[in-house]
Symmetry: C2
Subunit: 172 residues, 2 copies
């Protein structure tokens, strides 16, 4: 994993939660995600990818039900007690803001990217698929009210050599 990407993602999630929700979560130890690592329990995930001529990236924000309801309570004016359409939109927006922050950081170093629209996954014990072949790093976060995990992968692509291992829709 390229620390040039994981550090902007970490900075971005802390920045978004502090600014938008006045939340300062505790950051745990990162670990490499296994191919078949299942998200356990009832969760909601926002996945978003970005693609550019020199690389592609994907992040997923996975919140336990307790965690997202706490964040929703801090960010939204209305009382939220269950995962509904408003919470789903919020998860997509959080994923968008976090990857948007990391994108700005990479662009400042001369890269350029386009963001996809967020995909939302929710249920129990599911797998998250990322549209990148990069290794995925999992960063766990805890709040007294609940946990969430950020998954991030970033793959540099040689500008002049076509990589056949890339999904065709992600080819530069």
């Amino acid at each position: 994993m390229n620390v040039n990407f994981i550090n902007p993602v970490l900075g971005s999630i802390l920045d978004v939660l502090s600014t938008m929700a006045h939340i300062e979560p505790e950051v745990g130890s990162p670990k490499r995600k296994g191919k078949h690592d299942v998200v356990h329990g009832k969760n909601i995930t926002g996945v978003i990818s970005m693609v550019g001529r020199r690389g592609n990236a994907s992040i997923a924000l996975t919140f336990s039900e307790a965690a997202i309801l706490h964040i929703a309570k801090k960010m939204l004016p209305s009382e939220i007690t269950t995962i509904d359409g408003i919470v789903i939109d919020l998860v997509g927006e959080l994923a968008n803001m976090v990857l948007g922050g990391a994108k700005r950081d990479l662009e400042n170093r001369g890269y350029s990217f386009q963001l996809s629209l967020p995909t939302i996954i929710f249920g129990c014990d599911y797998l998250i698929a990322h549209k990148t072949n990069a290794p995925i790093i999992m960063l766990p976060f805890t709040m007294p009210e609940g946990e969430f995990v950020v998954e991030a992968g970033y793959e540099e692509v040689n500008e002049y050599v076509y990589s056949s291992s890339l999904p065709s829709n992600l080819a530069p």
Copy 2:
């Protein structure tokens, strides 16, 4: 792909839609899903898996927005014009009924399985991850109002040999 599984899945989806929604979709040609095959456009997917001592299976029902709104209109009393919480529950329920039908068929032949809870995915241009290592077959369906695709994979597991290629949570 085991036709002992794809045929019950096909029978089950036709049965569910005919009984519950009075819809008779046209069935297209099945094809093998590639590892990086992305669902294009705006869609909603219900994924559900089952696991038993002698095998495991996964199906995903992916509806275009137009297709699921048409099915919702035929199945539900209230007028539905957008993908909301009710439509999300409907997609989970349809996935549950379709895999439930295929499960009954396999159980009649002496297999036994437990169904997972459904996972819902929605967004644009996403990847669907299945909790099985089986090859996945895609069966396309068309209605005048929109398209949907059923993905199904079924893997027999030797009862007496532990397969290390299985995700640990799916091990028999």
